[in-house]
């Protein structure tokens, strides 16, 4: 009788191949769905997410959560990744983890995920951004701490699902003067990312002489803000107005003055300043086309500030 035909026999004798490249659609295996199965891990083996931007967990909030856990149990297991033997890091759920500690429990239900450092950072931030109870400043700080994990700010923005524009608003905080950053450390809600970006923009426009005025205007504005006498969205224009006023006051003291320009002892034009304005006159044919363009550019740049 002939030998029975088997898959392994046909592969072994080379009649069929078992390593073709093009393959048929796959059946999803149970594990494609079931990373939702929770396991119990000892609290002692679990550490917070190092990228977690949230550093303060108000006691009242934790007590409330702990009470609800005692009553109805933990509804959602926390998400963790394994970092080494018997050591796990929280991807999401630090509040639940802290509430469990508060209850002196020894174990907590966890769902295991595999996650890279990048993933950890993104998940920590994404979770917090969507929760809305974290301030822009705290988000900005956490973005800064994970920035180095990404090849570029553009990639970072992509990973976090931010518009590039929005991303730069978060980065605006770092351009603020030290005294303001110190205040933000104490009170992260003081300035939104939009206000920070506006302030950064107006400060950048100032010339070296103006910046001193601008800084004192900012200090004044922040004091008003803390006293709730100005809206944070108005700070930038407050500074701009102060600087313009100061500049105008200076021009007023110039009075009427006329100064002549000479070329080889010959008058070729003048500079006149009065309450009507400034006047510069230069006789025809004195300046080459090149010089004219250069002058225009200087004036142009001057007004652009």
């Amino acid at each position: 009788m002939k030998k029975p035909i088997t898959v392994s026999g046909l592969v072994q004798s080379g009649v069929i191949q078992n390593n073709l490249n093009s393959t048929l659609p796959q059946f999803k295996s149970q594990s494609d769905f079931s990373n939702q199965i929770a396991i119990f891990l000892p609290l002692a083996q679990i550490q917070p997410n190092p990228y977690q931007p949230r550093s303060i967990f108000p006691d009242a909030e934790l007590n409330e959560l702990a009470a609800s856990i005692t009553e109805i149990g933990l509804i959602q297991p926390i998400a963790v990744r394994k970092v080494s033997d018997m050591a796990y890091q929280i991807i999401a759920g630090e509040r639940r983890f802290r509430a469990f500690k508060l209850l002196s429990k020894t174990e907590i239900p966890c769902v295991l995920f595999t996650a890279t450092d990048e993933d950890m950072a993104v998940m920590a931030i994404a979770e917090n951004v969507s929760r809305q109870d974290l301030s822009d400043y705290e988000i900005a700080k956490s973005i800064r701490t994970v920035e180095s994990l990404f090849p570029s700010r553009t990639r970072l923005a992509q990973a976090l699902g931010f518009q590039r524009e929005d991303m730069y608003r978060y980065f605006a905080y770092e351009a603020l003067p030290l005294f303001l950053l110190e205040k933000l450390e104490m009170n992260p809600r003081l300035l939104s990312r939009n206000a920070a970006a506006d302030i950064k923009r107006v400060l950048n426009k100032m010339s070296a002489e103006q910046s001193e005025i601008a800084l004192s205007a900012l200090t004044e504005a922040i004091a008003l803000l803390e006293a709730a006498q100005i809206d944070q969205t108005k700070i930038a224009s407050f500074i701009a107005t102060r600087v313009t006023q100061a500049t105008q006051a200076e021009t007023a003291t110039l009075n009427i003055q006329k100064q002549h320009f000479f070329l080889q002892d010959k008058k070729i034009g003048h500079f006149l300043s009065s309450e009507k304005g400034l006047e510069v006159k230069i006789s025809a044919g004195v300046l080459t086309d090149e010089k004219t363009t250069e002058l225009k550019k200087i004036l142009d740049d001057f007004f652009r500030v």
């Binding site: 029975p4 035909i5 069929i16």
Partner: protein, 344 residues
Amino acid sequence: MRNFGVKLKLAKEFVGFVGSSSEFRTLFEKKGTQYHNIYSALDIRNARLKLLGVDLAALPQQDKLPPIINCRMAKGGTGKTTICGGIASALSMFGYRVLMIDGDPQASLTGLFGINWATENITHIGELMLKFSRKEDYSLTEAVRPLYEGKMLDLIAADISLVNTDSWLMGITNREFVFKKFLDANVDFFSQYDVILIDSAPSTNLLTNALMCACQKILAVVWLDGQSLKAMQILASNVNELNDAFHAMGFHLDVHIVANGYHPSYSPCKDALSTLISSYADKMNNTVIPHAVSFMKQVELFKEENSGTVLEREPNSIAARAIIDLAKSLVKEYGIKLSGIQVI
């Protein structure tokens, strides 16, 4: 009832007996000389239990549903019915109690065992489920046809009216699990069997879905050509969809694959088999069913009552051997037990 038995050599193989033939014969209480060398499914079952030293009367009543093997493919003519009927008669001859359910309105499994649905009074699975879901009375014992004596092989037959099932399934809630619930509600009845085999229609519809949702693992029967492989795409999306929809309830349907119709001089067979093994290495049954004329001779057109599986008609053919090997592997693959006893 069909009068079928195997000769000594196969009987010894099925019992797993290694001693001499005369020793083997002492396991049976044969009256007269008429069936001297013929062993029925029931004979083999009893011999196995005897060898295992199991007291038949003391066997506990099972309370769990047995494994279910649903022969399935999203394409017609791939050999679902041939394989379903074939392994049913083989498993029965190994001594397992087998229930077959014909889930195809074409009723070809019914026909394979010589039953002419046009002239018989048939209560099919659709009718049973309908009555169950409407909380009407039904009798499973009357619906089931005995094929091999001693409840070794029974059949819930089908006829063309099974096509109507989809129209009422459409209107009920949780329709995917109506068959599963029907089995659970009648666990006392179904647990008499060691395995349930279902022959399915090639279409993808509410009935085929319901029949699959009672299983843990369907048996996909693939005919070895390009057309048939294309149908794997339909089957995969069908199975993935059910798994997607119900995984939260703890449901998961697996797939086991058997290749059918291999011919050593047809190159498309080899290409198809290469593609299958490359795609589904961990799901493939090692037995390949050959393209064999014996399979084509199973159904008699004008003497329907003479129809029967290859094992019944040509027990020593290559075709029957392949079916026996396949059935043996399925005992392991599906964890089929002899009245609840796991035999290694």
